[in-house]
Symmetry: C2
Subunit: 329 residues, 2 copies
């Protein structure tokens, strides 16, 4: 394992910061009032380049593989990267690959949002589609790698990716010194494990909470039982959180995570709608899980300083899921 100590985290941020946006940390009177938090902050990774925080991990991973290749006197033209991803990691890796001149191969489920597919193509990533199960993703990836050796960069279960994602919370802690809670969406656990490590080193009193769709609560079941639960069928509307929790991520979560909250599909959709309507920003359902959790358990967060990570904003605008019967606030 890479040592992810305070110095490493500082260096990771220094290494990627010129390639990413320092996204804004914003407030919203409406939601502060409703939830009666003391201070409520939203870290807007939907404004990140490529539309999600995934660019942070992807950039750091590619930088590291390129540096390794150069140290071994290998031309980076030979470097080929493969990943399987529901979308955001795929487009982030494609974007970074395009920037650094590294070829990216992506295995994607055939039912993801078309906006995410188009983004991968725009950035020059080469797509192979597969059935929308974790098994199919892994098998398709292995078959491609069997034909030609490539470097696999898992979307979450990879220390370089986790290292890159630590920079989200690092930026938050640099701005806000006295956070009581930080909530992040939880899919594979890259963002959440990174946030745990950042809190450990830069804001030890901040409690880190992961938010998972109840329909994809494998990490919740794993966290409560102490053993990794297999991933669930990919049914949640929060398409970025369908993947199962990673081994490395789970290990970090077991040591440093305060708790996991689950939210149901209606709570996710309602929170998504509210963020669009009140904050006038475009977020994907995965992002809105954090606000859904805050609203659901608002008593717990009363008079506290809370930061929510809005992880991304890539949705198919032509096919929005807002129905007429969403419960009003």
């Amino acid at each position: 394992m890479n040592k992810l100590d305070a110095t490493s985290l500082y260096n990771i941020h220094r290494s990627i910061k010129h390639f990413i946006h320092k996204t804004p940390l914003i407030t919203c009177d409406t939601f502060s009032k409703i939830t009666e938090t003391k201070n409520l902050y939203f870290k807007c990774e939907n404004f990140q380049k490529t539309g999600s925080f995934k660019l942070r991990g992807a950039t750091y991973a590619l930088q590291t593989y390129i540096t390794r290749a150069l140290r071994m006197n290998q031309p980076i033209d030979n470097l080929e990267i493969i990943t399987h991803s529901s979308g955001n990691h795929a487009s982030a890796l494609s974007y970074a690959g395009n920037l650094f001149g590294v070829k990216i191969r992506v295995v994607m489920p055939n039912n993801g949002p078309s906006a995410k597919r188009e983004a991968v193509r725009t950035y020059g990533g080469e797509i192979t589609f597969c059935e929308p199960t974790q098994q199919a993703r892994e098998l398709t990836t292995e078959l491609i790698m069997a034909k030609k050796p490539m470097q696999l960069v898992h979307s979450s279960d990879n220390y370089l990716i986790i290292g890159g994602q630590t920079t989200v919370a690092y930026e938050i802690f640099k701005e806000i010194g006295d956070l009581d809670y930080i909530l992040t969406p939880l899919g594979g656990g890259g963002l959440l494990a990174g946030t745990c490590l950042s809190a450990l080193h830069f804001s030890p009193r901040t409690k880190v909470i992961g938010v998972e769709p109840a329909l994809a609560n494998d990490a919740y079941l794993s966290f409560k039982s102490g053993a990794i639960h297999p991933p669930l069928p990919p049914l949640t509307i929060a398409d970025g959180l369908r993947i199962g929790v990673g081994v490395r991520n789970f290990e970090i979560m077991q040591k440093h995570l305060h708790d996991i909250i689950t939210v149901d599909e209606e709570e996710i959709m309602r929170a998504t709608f509210l963020i669009w309507e009140r904050m006038k920003i475009v977020v994907e359902p995965s992002s809105a899980t954090t606000l859904a959790a805050l609203i659901k358990y608002r008593k717990m967060f009363r008079k506290k300083n809370v930061a929510l990570v809005l992880s991304g904003g890539n949705v198919d605008l032509r096919n929005l899921p807002f129905s007429r019967d969403l419960i009003e606030l």
Copy 2:
């Protein structure tokens, strides 16, 4: 006429600034590249309280009427304000009325976005619906005022409203010293006339351009002919720009406006879609007219410093107009 000189404009901003958001002025690499502008800024009035710049004029107008009443020893409980508005001015005035304790009566067309109606109701404004023509709006208002005298606050053709709207450009010029162009949407001309006055006093070398939907180009026809053209049927999707240009607004535009650009419905929808998709922010079609104009006449703005005003973000999210056949960028 109120003297809208540099000192007045400064004082207007000082007077309302604690009641409004200083909205962010943001950049977007994608659109800078496409348009080859030197620097491109978006003034995000969609993030303004009540979701549009209209709160600026409404706040300043109410503050002035309240001050006048107090000076004449009249209790402000007797003060009653009426307006007719397609929506954003109505909700802004209702919000400000609620804040300052002044009763607001609103005449609204019966075909506006439901989100705007709900906002007026939330802030305690009393709505009277009318047919969606300018004539019906004015007649309905006069009928109400005939029964009970009230102070009419027109959404654009009013020097207090124009004065309040000067603060949008005032904030831009305080941040950016060397703008070549500033583009604002053009409906009644409150924002545009205010922008002309701000440029005159604080950034005289900046050329101010109004952008009008081709389907509602009465101000364009007026500007070119030198005489006010009657308003056109309210057909454009940019519902905030359906109203005809105001007399006071037109007078200021004739003296200080550089030019008017018109954009067609497809250009407006495409620009709206692009802002949502690429910038991840929610804007209403009226806002996107400025980007539509920039893209349409990009040669004119090449290598220039340009600011676009995004005037508001109030749309009916359950009924979005994004069709599958929007032309790709």
